[in-house]
């Protein structure tokens, strides 16, 4: 298979091929109703989160400016009632989306980045590097990640950064194993051998061939993992390890307040339900997108 001189450059070809694959993938994705619904939901929620400062007033998060009474039930003034200091639960839920989504995205990016690097290195270098890296991966895979994350968030200063770090550092192993498996399959393909034979170094092989080939999988994994990260954030916040700044609430810290403020005993369902439902919807949306993407990559999972 020699390349005639008048053909486009290999790089352009590769990009054209990728573009075509992406279009085909999107077409396939668009066929999945659940995936589209998930994507739509996400678009709306992200948009609301971004627009929160425009459509609402942040001052409403300041307890000293709260106008409502303690745990007021829903009314026209407060569509979802108020919390213990008298702030609007709707406003809190909206602003919480910003923190929960940010933590979810960034923590997942961190964990997927670590996982991808370790996975590719482990598969590419083989032997001792692989054995060592996989030993560490296995170790972190079996460690009860929540216990580790709790410990980390306690040792470090409390705040968003710490939560991101705690989630990122404890959730990468599954991504690493996935990427390693994929890399092994790819490196077994003839074109990698060819690239090596043509003098491609480690860096060349990894960056030009392996990485682009594992990226779709990494992307799917990221989509699925954001949901887990959001749940993990809410759990850590619920256990009291989240950002303590009242002006930066998250869904998890709202639920913690509801729990500590005896919303159950007081029958304040409007304080208890919205943050939990918000988490559920967002996680579900990510999962639906992820599964749709997954079936784009793996035709055997396709419906019908």
């Amino acid at each position: 298979m020699t390349v005639p001189k008048n053909q486009p450059s290999p790089r352009a070809l590769a990009w054209r091929r990728r573009g075509a694959a992406f279009t085909a993938g999107w077409r396939e994705f668009a066929k999945q109703r659940a995936g589209l619904v998930g994507l739509g939901l996400l678009a709306v929620i992200v948009l609301l989160a971004i627009l929160a400062p425009v459509i609402t007033d942040r001052e409403g998060l300041d307890v000293t400016k709260a106008t409502g009474d303690r745990m007021e039930s829903p009314s026209w003034e407060f569509l979802l009632g108020t919390d213990r200091p008298g702030r609007s639960v709707l406003l809190l839920t909206l602003w919480s989306a910003r923190i929960s989504l940010t933590v979810g995205f960034v923590a997942t990016l961190l964990s997927v980045a670590i996982g991808t690097i370790i996975g590719i290195l482990a598969a590419h270098y083989g032997r001792w590097v692989s054995a060592g890296l996989m030993r560490i991966t296995d170790f972190f895979l079996v460690l009860p990640s929540l216990v580790l994350a709790i410990a980390l968030s306690t040792v470090l200063e409390r705040g968003i950064g710490t939560i991101i770090l705690a989630i990122g550092l404890t959730s990468w192993p599954s991504a690493a194993r996935l990427v390693r498996a994929q890399t092994l399959t790819i490196e077994a393909r003839p074109y990698i051998e060819r690239a090596r034979a043509l003098g491609g170094g480690h860096f060349h092989v990894i960056s030009k061939h392996v990485l682009p080939a594992v990226l779709p999988l990494v992307f799917v994994n990221t989509t699925l993992a954001v949901g887990s990260a959001i749940v993990a954030e809410s759990t850590l916040s619920f256990l009291g390890l989240g950002d303590p700044d009242p002006m930066r609430p998250s869904w998890g810290s709202m639920l913690r307040s509801a729990w500590l403020d005896s919303a159950i005993i007081a029958g304040a369902w409007w304080y208890l339900l919205p943050p939990g439902i918000a988490i559920g919807i967002v996680v579900l949306a990510f999962t639906m997108c992820g599964r749709a993407l997954e079936s784009v990559l793996n035709p055997r999972l396709r419906e019908g």
């Binding site: 213990r84 303590p244 005896s262 005993i265 007081a266």
Partner: protein, 631 residues
């Protein structure tokens, strides 16, 4: 083989599911859940049980080792002290010691031990038991773990005969008539090889109750001591049931699983209001809550320690911060009104010593005035509205709070909000209790939320603010509070200690509080009430300390539990200090016994639900079977 496996699996599924599903049926059927159980327990022949829902954990029940509030409170009913605090005025009154006297030089104390006191195993309690207990503490470092501070200045302890105990101290000691040291039976404890070991149950005691069983994180059980010298209690058993979540304790009270709970948050208290069978108790408390403002921490020899923001050394800044705290709103919003608005350092419960600012000294909540004061003091606002300190750095203060404490969690957002209004940025830093303690002890804070429980005698809380109470050179030891070191305050402190005229002493103590108010190294932001609740369909009531307005649980004595009066057993006793006797106060309201139907109904509903579940499951299984076989 495969078939066998799948059959086994199916069997497993059914078994597990049915075990889970039918267990509640059996329980609801045999003893429809909670209220019915409770009725059984109180009306049954074999004993009246008082079940107390608590959310504080017991550390250990070894009287030499226990230091947590829960552990020491339980042990207060297990072991008698030489003296206790009276129900009415919370002043020392005789317990194991009938009377006591001190020598001219106040160095020798003689206690006359009551002759009619017996251990729960029937053996007499003598001065030798007390002497053995104290001698053990003098000899054995481990035995000093919990209560060692009382005996550091002791020289010797002797039982001159069975009923006389003599204690010699090296220096005069003010706490000699209020020694909170449990006295243990020599014939039991002298045989123990390890004084710090977990005790065996039942534990021989001489208090109104003795411990029979302890299941960590679950419950502690006590039985009434029939030999108790004040007379046996009216209930036969007390169960302290541990709930790690206080909401769970509240639901347990509602459904009758427990009879008494403390503490309640204001929200829980309000939620219980209007429940026909529940009596609420909104009791004045001996606690004050304060915001510490680090004035530049230093050790007791004056060496600066910690990393407090140096700007806070300026008393004008501290006063402005104090003025920006709206204590009225805190009472309303944080405590929903179940608190007293802040005034002086000594809680208003101690009427004599309590003080409040008057006239010009009053610092009314006024953000504009605080802003103006800061402008005048030269704290200019930066571009983002945050003021700059004298070095031109923006004023960013850390606020150290106890994680998971209701007050801290709810008050800190308010403090942050108000300080922002006067141009001070606050970062809230919730930490575990021990981290908060360590960091405040080392002066590593700018602002911190703290609080103390005051005693009838204000000496201890006043001593917290003296120069000498700051930590020693290596930054440990002592429990400093606000790191105040003020010569005038120290002089007044020494003066009140040696002042034997009570009204003069009160004057001095008030002067000290005025001084604290002006120094503003601490801002009192309120005295929260103790909120408790009990089932009035099971219990007539409990003696409160102080009588009529005080708490039932966590008293400075055992009156509340000793005098627990089950429904229909006459008036709640009042212990008026006429040793061993009690007088009645008829509070019986002639409410007709309500038969508790709710429990039965709930049980039936639960049972029906479960049956529906089981049937549904069976039907589902049946349908699957047919579906499988049809193909």
């Amino acid at each position: 083989m495969i078939i066998v496996r799948s059959r086994l699996l199916a069997l497993g599924v059914t078994l597990m599911a049915s075990a889970l599903v039918t267990a509640p049926v059996a329980v609801s059927a045999s003893a429809s859940p909670a209220p019915a159980r409770a009725a059984e327990a109180t009306s049954g022949q074999d004993g009246k049980v008082l079940r107390i829902g608590v959310s504080r954990e017991v550390d250990t029940l070894n009287p030499f080792m226990s230091i947590t509030l829960m552990g020491t409170s339980i042990l207060r009913s297990q072991f008698e002290f030489l003296t206790t605090y009276s129900q009415g005025s919370m002043t020392p009154e005789g317990a194991l010691a009938e009377k006591w006297e001190t020598s001219e030089d106040k160095l020798t104390w003689t206690y006359h031990i009551r002759k009619d006191v017996k251990w729960s195993d029937g053996k007499p309690v003598t001065a030798k038991d007390a002497a053995w207990t104290f001698q053990k503490m003098l000899d054995d470092e481990t035995a000093r773990t919990a209560n060692g501070s009382y005996i550091t200045q002791w020289e010797s302890v002797t039982a001159t005969d069975d009923w006389t105990l003599k204690i010699k101290t090296k220096v005069p000691q003010a706490t000699m008539d209020a020694l909170d040291i449990p006295i243990v039976p020599e014939h039991v404890w002298s045989k123990m090889s390890d004084i710090s070991a977990a005790p065996e149950f039942p534990m021989v005691g001489n208090g109104p109750y003795y411990i029979t069983e302890f299941k960590e994180a679950q419950f502690t059980k006590m039985k009434a001591n029939k030999n108790y010298w004040r007379g046996a209690p009216k209930v036969d058993e007390i169960h302290f049931v541990y709930y790690s979540n206080s909401d769970a304790a509240v639901s347990a009270l509602q459904s009758g699983e427990v009879d008494l709970i403390n503490p309640l948050t204001p929200t829980q208290y309000d939620a219980l209001q209007g429940e026909p069978d529940i009596q609420l108790n909104n009791a004045q408390n001996r606690r004050f809550n304060e915001l510490l403002i680090n004035p530049g921490a230093a050790t007791n020899d004056g060496t600066p320690i910690g990393n407090g923001n140096p700007a806070l050394k300026d008393v004008k800044l501290r006063q402005a911060i104090a003025q920006a705290i709206d204590t009225k709103t805190l009472v309303d919003k944080v405590w929903s009104g179940y608190a007293t608005e802040a005034a002086g350092y000594i809680p208003p419960m101690f009427k004599d010593f309590a003080w409040e600012p008057t006239g010009d000294q009053v610092r009314k909540f006024d953000l504009d005035a605080a802003n103006k004061a800061l402008d005048e003091a030269g704290y200019k606002k930066g571009q983002d509205g945050v003021r700059l300190d004298k070095q031109g750095k923006p004023l960013n203060l850390r606020l150290l709070t106890h994680a998971e404490r209701d007050i801290d969690e709810n008050a800190s957002p308010f403090i942050k909000g108000w300080l922002k209004e006067i141009g001070i940025e606050v970062t809230i830093e919730p930490k575990s209790d021990n981290q908060v303690n360590e960091e405040t002890t080392r002066g590593e804070y700018d602002l911190a939320i703290s609080g103390w429980s005051a005693n009838p005698d204000p000496d201890y809380v006043l001593s917290l603010q003296t120069c000498a109470n700051r930590p020693n050179a290596d930054g440990t030891g002592a429990t400093p509070d606000s790191f105040l070191c003020n010569e005038e305050y120290d002089e007044l402190y020494a003066k009140q200690l040696s002042e034997f005229d009570r009204s003069k002493r009160i004057d001095i103590v008030k002067q000290m509080q005025a001084l604290l108010y002006d120094e503003a190294t601490l801002v009192i932001f309120g005295y929260d009430n103790a909120l408790e609740a009990f089932r009035k369909d099971k219990f007539e009531g409990f003696p409160q300390q102080p009588t009529g307005s005080g708490v039932i649980m966590f008293q400075q004595s055992y009156w509340g539990l000793l005098g627990a009066t089950p429904k229909g057993e006459g008036p709640v006793p009042v212990y008026d200090g006429s040793q061993g006797t009690e007088s009645g106060e008829d509070t019986t309201d002639a409410a007709a016994e309500e038969s508790s139907n709710t429990g039965l109904i709930l049980g039936i509903v639960g049972g029906v639900l479960v049956v529906v579940l089981v049937v549904g499951l069976l039907v589902a299984r049946g349908r699957r079977k047919t579906a499988d076989d049809r193909e």
